[in-house]
Amino acid sequence: MRKSWLRDYIIRRLFYSIIIAWGILTVTFILVRVGPSSPADRYLANLAASGQDVTQVIAAIEARYGVDRPIWEQYTDYMTNLFRGNWGWSFSTSMPVIELIKKHWIYSFQLILLSSLFAAFLGILIGIYSAVKQYTKADYTFTFLSFIGISIPNFWLGVMLILIFSVKLGLFKTYYDTTLPLFSIENLKALVLPVITLGTGMLAAYVRYTRSAMLDNLRKVFVTTARAKGLPERIVIGKHVFRNALLPLVTIILFDLGSIVFGGAYLTEIVFGIPGLGQISFKAIFANDYPVVVAVTLIGTLVVLLVNLVTDIIYTYLDPRIRYD
């Protein structure tokens, strides 16, 4: 019974997701292409500086990349190629877009995944402890540290960590080394500082969310009942209070995961020299490299849609009263 309505719901959501993704893809394509910028803009200063006939060369470069054609023609070609699995040629990096993404997604993914795990695990643990020990010295300390964590800019924190742990103490390399095997202790070590940098803000926020959600539930009648029944405090907190507090936390954690996929990780990638999709997409925007911009936007959209769907499904397991039929 449950399986049946859930399957129908997933199919329906996937169908909507495709329509939403297509819509966002189209809007992004139009926005990127109708703007005043051109992929040839980056040539302007150098060409002018060397005394070239800028107008002629710019027209030629636009023709080379096919951006001199009517926008509907470019759009039709792009969509046709996309459905055939051809994501286009990145003219700011000189390689096929699909190859570019295949090569670089893993750098962003490992950073985001480890940062999220680090932040969620520690944030929830500290949040629970803070709530259970409300108004103790430990609670005040964690609250204070949380506010610092939320306030510190990633960029500054990353540079400070490098100066202290890499330059002064020599414990880590000053930059992320892409030559390390992905599944190795060395690679994990290389990710320690970037993960702390990206994860600190999230961790601090999760501490606050968890504490607040736990406190809400600790005051509820079912907790008093559980305690009156003589259940051990460990069970009361872990099984009853935390499970009820988990619903809003899952929403926030998964939403964060979706939103930092490309945007939030950018500064950390810059500081530690990680060639992830954040850097790739940011530079593609400035280079007017529309095949990359559109492709990365599409991936970001799909990730967010997928995360939302997963969140909705998790709700039904955390709280069986939730149904989407």
Binding site: R42, L47, A48, A49, I61, L163, I270
Partner: protein, 581 residues
């Protein structure tokens, strides 16, 4: 290969020009003195990644520098501007009338398939690729000339397997420098893509540099975008085979997002070399494992005066520009802001250029020509000022209203920002209010530097003619320019009326004529050319189309175990002979 000789720079820092020369002693062990093949040389950069390794499509200097590790040009220079032959067997011969250039290449150059590199490859590259309509080489203008009002290409012709000629119809004494930069594509591969721009753009041989044979000290290994460009030692390098060079197993260019992390990496010993910002130079000098070389550069910072219709009307007057330049202290900029790593500039040719002369240069901003009182008097006599009761002058508009100027500068370059604030302080003492507009580089270019004729559908460019104006009004603008030290005539783009980067709208027929003469038959005589450059320098220092502020010196930080470096303006010219101790 076309290198970028003159271009706007955001942060003025000289880059190492990479090329090699064979002057080491030969040893049968494959070592030269202390030099043995070992280690990985890691260069830290934070100026962004290259666009392509298919160099004929590139417009950025980084792409050319990457390819330059695997592909030598015909010739380069040492720090004293002595020619260093690379793929040339002997220096280019120029006919007495200056029209025919005979180029003889070495006979031991090979492509990766073992076939010889011939004159045919060079001529094919010029005729079928660089001059073609289908490929649209961005710098084809370097190989064109104006003949009877028409733009035509020069004529390359094969003489024999190792010799070819290039014939011009008009004289250009500095054309030989364009020839020195030439590199070839292999005809045997390129013919497969000829006429198909998409196929050529995506050709794996060109995008992975698989054809470079023994033409460069290194061979392409890997390029991870926005991260690292890796080349490995080429044991067959034509200049290195007798001496065992190059001596690094790999040469890596590591891209950093910020200069702070790039410098931290050098301090921690994670990279071998990087450029050092002025404020960090003394700190790095005191580190026991780092050696800092301070060398002159070709870059200078200037204060541009907007002489277009949307600038303050006074800036069109030479005396007004002179007065403003007289009020800004260049010693303060070089010593207090750039901490001594710069020297006052008075024209566009730096002291390190063989064409430099200080004869007749008007030195505004130093000594007796740094004089605010005199500046105020000059402006007063032009009608821009009022005399107060105490006889002091307050500079104003002609109608007596307060003079308010807009100074635009980009963010991200602390020296440029500091210079902007110094200018404001100096001009305030004359009574001029300066409003500083700080903005990102791209915004500065789009809204303040690029211009078009109002109410037309012109595409904005850096110089769209005398009627064109920028989108936003401005009066002063802090920016950096470069001068090619061997052919300063390239600076016509900034100062000639029709120069592609003359965004200030400066126009002086005398200056235009002098730039023209620097590239004429008359200038074939070096003494005559020297006189032309001296006259140009003198005229521009007097006219002040811009306030030439300072020429920069760059700091290069190396790990101390790197040997063989010859510090100077072109310090990378022998980099294939560098080695780890």
């Amino acid at each position: 290969m076309r290198k970028l000789l003159v271009f706007i720079v955001l942060v003025l820092a000289s880059s190492i020009t990479l090329a090699g020369c064979a002057k080491s002693e030969v040893s049968d062990t494959g070592t030269t003195g202390m030099a043995t093949v070992k280690g990985i040389f890691i260069e830290g950069q934070s100026g962004g990644d290259a666009e392509t390794l298919n160099w004929i499509l590139a417009a950025d200097a980084t792409s050319f520098s990457y390819v330059g590790h695997t592909l030598d040009s015909l010739a380069t220079y040492d720090n004293e501007f002595n020619i260093q032959l690379r793929c040339l067997a002997k220096d280019v011969e120029v006919s007495p009338d200056g029209l025919v250039y005979t180029i003889t290449i070495r006979d031991d150059l090979k492509w990766s398939n073992g076939s010889p590199v011939t004159a045919e490859d060079y001529v094919y590259t010029l005729k079928n690729l660089m001059f073609s309509d289908w490929l649209n080489y961005p710098y084809k203008g370097d190989w064109q000339e104006e003949v009877n009002g028409e733009t035509v290409f020069v004529t390359p012709e094969v003489v024999d397997a190792t010799t070819f000629t290039i014939t011009r119809q008009t004289v250009d004494p500095e054309f030989v420098y364009t020839i020195y930069d030439l590199t070839p594509y292999p005809k045997y591969i390129a013919v497969n893509y000829e006429g198909d721009v998409e196929a050529f753009t995506q050709a794996p041989e060109f995008n992975n540099l698989t054809y470079t044979g023994n033409l460069g000290p290194y061979r392409f290994k890997e390029w991870i975008r926005n991260d690292r460009f890796v080349v490995e030692r080429n044991p067959d390098y034509y200049l290195g085979k007798d001496v065992g060079a190059p001596y690094f197993e790999q040469y890596v260019i590591k891209i950093f997002g910020t200069s702070a992390t790039r410098q931290a990496a050098l301090e921690a010993g994670d990279i071998t070399y990087t450029g050092i910002e002025p404020e960090q130079a003394n700190k790095f000098r005191n580190l026991p494992h780092i050696k800092v070389y301070t060398v002159p550069t070709r870059g200078y910072t200037l204060l541009a005066y907007n002489q277009r219709a949307n600038g303050w009307e006074g800036l069109k007057d030479k005396t007004v520009r002179q007065a403003l330049s007289m009020a800004i202290n260049k010693q303060t900029i070089s010593q207090a802001i750039l901490l001594g790593f710069a020297e006052p500039a008075f024209s566009f040719i730096p002291q390190t250029s063989p064409w430099f002369t200080d004869e007749g240069l008007v030195q505004y901003g130093v000594g007796s020509l740094y004089d605010k009182k005199k500046a105020a008097e000059l402006l007063y006599h032009k009608g821009y000022g009022i005399k107060k009761e105490d006889e002091t002058i307050k500079v104003t508009n002609k109608d007596g209203s307060p003079l308010h100027l807009i100074l635009a500068v980009n963010t991200g370059s602390k020296p440029a920002e500091d210079i902007a604030f110094l200018v404001r302080k100096e001009l305030l003492e004359l009574g001029i209010e300066v409003e500083i507009k700080l903005m990102p580089w791209e915004t500065l270019l789009r809204q303040y530097v690029m211009n078009k004729v109002p109410n037309t559908d012109q595409e904005p460019r850096y110089n769209n003619g005398p009627e064109a104006v920028s989108r936003e009004p401005w009066d002063l603008l802090v920016i950096g320019f470069n001068t090619d030290l061997l052919q300063p005539s390239g600076s016509y783009v900034f100062f000639a009326s029709h120069g592609g980067l003359n965004f200030m709208g400066y126009s002086n027929p005398e200056v235009d004529e002098l730039f023209k003469r620097a590239k004429s038959k008359e200038a074939l005589d070096k003494e005559a050319r020297r006189q032309i450059y001296a006259e140009l320098s003198r005229l521009l220092s007097q006219e002040q189309p811009v306030n030439f502020l300072v020429f920069h010196r760059a700091n290069h930080g190396f790990q101390k175990n790197v040997k063989g470096i010859e510090p100077g303006i072109n310090m990378g010219y022998n980099y294939h002979l560098w080695y780890f101790e």
